[in-house]
């Protein structure tokens, strides 16, 4: 893929959208340093993202993936607090932060001692979100966070997630293939097609003044009432 000069704005929710194979997930994975670009550089704030810096920078990033990527051998609480314990937070601080997050996500406290497979899909995504937020990162990256959920739960969780984003007031970068979801969350939308950015702007920008015929085509295919 090929992308020139691309920046996520602070404290805004940026949504990467596109058909499958458009490069939206690749762009996200570049941003969290899971893959490195063949040419060019990425910066996190002022810091360049390199193999040498990525380890430390990741602690300032939260990352949620589609299926949650929860570790099956650890309880919900152990999954959430893994990094905090690993970087040596005192137990009391870990406990306090966990309580905060449980309150924020309205997660049932008795679910904390359960294993991932003993939780529902929606609960698993909440655990995944809490894990990403544990170290209070500057930026939250989400790759199709609601993709694996059924429509009813998905609608509820969308609402909750937007509330959480408002409360946190953090920079959020989210990948989705669903235009309705993009519109619902985004301050700005980035539409990708065949590895390139086609247009960047609010939903109204994309609908009102499409940069190319593909933008209209993409919007119409998903048939979102304007």
């Amino acid at each position: 893929m090929r992308v020139d000069r691309f920046t996520a704005r602070r404290q805004q929710t940026l949504v990467l959208i596109g058909a499958s194979g458009s490069g939206k997930s690749t762009l996200l994975r570049l941003m969290v340093g899971l893959i490195t670009p063949d040419t060019g550089t990425l910066h996190f704030g002022k810091d360049p993202i390199t193999p040498a810096t990525i380890q430390a920078l990741r602690r300032r990033m939260g990352y949620v993936i589609q299926e949650g990527g929860l570790f099956p051998h650890l309880t919900a609480a152990a999954n959430i607090t893994l990094m905090a314990r690993h970087v040596g937070w005192p137990p009391a601080k870990v406990e306090d932060r966990l309580r905060e997050l449980v309150a924020l996500t309205e997660f049932p406290p008795d679910g904390l001692d359960r294993l991932p497979r003993e939780l529902s899909g929606g609960q698993r995504q909440r655990v995944s979100l809490m894990r990403a937020l544990m170290l209070d990162p500057d930026v939250l990256f989400l790759d199709e966070p609601l993709g694996a959920l059924d429509p009813m739960i998905r609608a509820t969780l969308q609402e909750e997630l937007r509330t959480i984003f408002r409360v946190l007031n953090k920079t959020v970068v989210m990948v989705t293939h669903d235009l309705g979801e993009a519109r619902y969350f985004a301050d700005e939308i980035v539409l990708l097609h065949e590895g390139r950015i086609v247009q960047r702007g609010t939903f109204e920008d994309l609908a009102g003044s499409p940069a190319t015929p593909y933008v209209t085509q993409f919007l119409q295919a998903q048939a979102v009432p304007a």
Partner: protein, 509 residues
């Protein structure tokens, strides 16, 4: 809020710790083995009854001088025992002049007795005068078959090319054995099988083989009523038995050497055949035979009893557990890191799995014997061979367990910011626990079984009663080794299944 009390890392450390405890608790036993100071006189014997009986007699004689002496019995064939003598792992054993000339010094032209003594001297070995009997090789077959076919001399075999010959593996291979015998008599036989000497008698009786190699002092010749074929071309040399000992024994234990000298000429053929018959046919324990012999011959009182059955089993159990415990623990400690490397780096993985795989294809008996030039006889080479044998299942399962982890979990761990080491310790190894434990279990079961072969190179264990039982045709003795070995294998299996329940993180059960 409850926190998980035992972290995944804790459990994993627990397994490794438990394995270390086993390894360390066995280590002092292994260390004793190597202690060189105040070394007792060690007599060796080959894996056939006459050799063991003579070994017991020599040992009892050495003890009668007040010296401490032990007997490493049933040590495989000539090469193993001779090399053990050269290396100083044993101090003495009974050898035969023919074997010295035709096998040990086969590449040299030794004419008279002086040449032989000279050749031994070059190796730091002293030979006593002959004990008094000649135990030559011979070929034999059932008397009724011999009469029926009209075979009286080895030359007569030429007229019967269809006969099945069954020889010991040593005889098939020796300088004075089958190849030169075949050439000397132009024998045409194609169906020649290698088998254990004691089993060959049973094969002859049942008709599975027609002709076998005999030692002329074998008690079975009379027992099975065999016809001994005349060596009409004088192929086999004389095999006068004599005691060999290391030259340094003369300084270390001069009394023992003087005692050994008392055996010279003391064992005419009739006496030796009688002793062999009592050992093999009447099942008199070799130690009691030795005591009786010393009592009647020299009026020496030697202890006649041997270990009670219970303490014998306890000792074999200790030896077997040591072999298995040390070799398996070492294998776990080496194979898991190797498996991690193999699981993480495809190129190294090919090399590591290739090498451990090749080791696995070496037959276990061969692997044991290969270790002898490097580590001598006894516990150490057996442990090394078992260790090498145990590597592959653990390496393969560790590597496969790591490779089998879902890629999104690896990615999650990376994205969280866990370091390489933390990912391995907190996520990847716990997720691979089931596979790794299954590998260790496989190794343990193989190891327990293979360790019975350790007795062939003097490592003791449950293989010792099995070996002696086969030699003496004593089913009770065979079971005394085979049953506990089978039970131990089952216990190892059960133990690791319990360990799996304990060590496997709840989420993976």
């Amino acid at each position: 809020m409850k926190r998980p009390t035992r972290s995944a890392r804790g459990r994993f450390a627990g397994i490794v710790g438990a394995v270390l405890v086993v390894a360390l608790s066995a280590a002092p036993v292994a260390a004793q083995e190597g202690a060189a100071e105040a070394r007792p006189v060690v007599v060796g014997s080959k894996k056939f009854t006459e050799s063991v009986v003579l070994g017991e007699i020599a040992t009892a004689l050495a003890r009668s001088t007040g010296a401490e002496a032990t007997h490493r019995r049933d040590l495989g064939g000539t090469r193993i025992v001779w090399n053990a003598l050269i290396r100083g792992e044993i101090d003495a054993y009974v050898e035969y002049t023919g074997t010295l000339r035709q096998e040990i010094f086969a590449d040299r032209e030794l004419s008279g007795p002086a040449d032989l003594i000279g050749a031994l001297d070059e190796n730091g070995i002293v030979a006593g005068a002959p004990l008094g009997f000649n135990n030559t090789y011979a070929l034999g077959l059932r008397r009724d078959r011999a009469a029926e076919l009209g075979i009286h001399r080895i030359s007569d075999l030429r007229e019967h090319p269809d006969l099945v010959l069954g020889f010991t593996n040593e005889f098939l291979d020796r300088g004075d054995g089958w190849p030169s015998l075949r050439d000397a008599y132009s024998l045409p036989h194609q169906d020649v099988r290698g088998l254990d000497h004691d089993l060959a008698y049973r094969g002859l009786e049942s008709g599975a083989i027609d002709v076998m190699d005999l030692y002329s002092t074998d008690a079975e010749i009379r027992y099975y009523d065999l016809a001994v074929l005349e060596d009409d071309r004088g192929h086999f040399p004389a095999y006068h038995a004599l005691l060999l000992w290391r030259a340094d024994l003369g300084e270390r234990a001069p009394d023992v050497v003087s005692a050994f000298r008392r055996l010279e000429g003391a064992l005419p053929e009739s006496v030796m055949v009688g002793l062999n018959a009592r050992a093999k046919l009447d099942k008199v324990p070799e130690r009691r035979l030795a005591a009786d012999f010393l009592g009647t011959q020299y009026g020496i009182q030697a202890p006649r009893g041997r270990l009670t059955r219970d303490s014998e089993i306890a000792r074999r159990t200790r030896e077997h557990l040591m072999l298995v415990g040390v070799s398996l623990s070492a294998a776990v400690l080496v194979a898991i890191p190797l498996g991690i490397v193999a699981g993480k780096h495809a190129r190294w993985g090919h090399v590591i799995l290739g090498v451990t795989g090749v080791i696995q294809t070496v037959p276990s008996l061969a692997l044991l014997v290969i270790m002898i030039p490097l580590l001598g006889i006894g516990t150490r080479p057996a442990i090394m061979a078992l260790f090498l044998y145990s590597l592959l299942p653990i390496v393969r399962n560790t590597s496969a367990g790591l490779r089998g982890i879902a890629p999104e979990l690896i990615e999650s761990a990376r994205a969280l910011g866990l370091s390489r080491g933390a990912r391995l310790g907190l996520i990847e190894l716990p997720l691979a626990t089931r596979s790794i434990l299954a590998g260790i279990k496989t190794s343990a079961v193989i190891n327990v079984g293979t360790a019975t072969l350790g007795a062939l190179i003097g490592a003791g264990g449950y293989g010792q009663p099995i070996l002696t039982g086969i030699r003496l045709d004593d089913m009770g003795l065979i079971l005394q080794g085979a049953l506990p070995a089978a039970a131990l294998a089952l216990m190892a299996q059960g133990l690791f299944e319990a360990a799996e329940r304990w060590a496997l993180p709840r989420g993976l059960r």
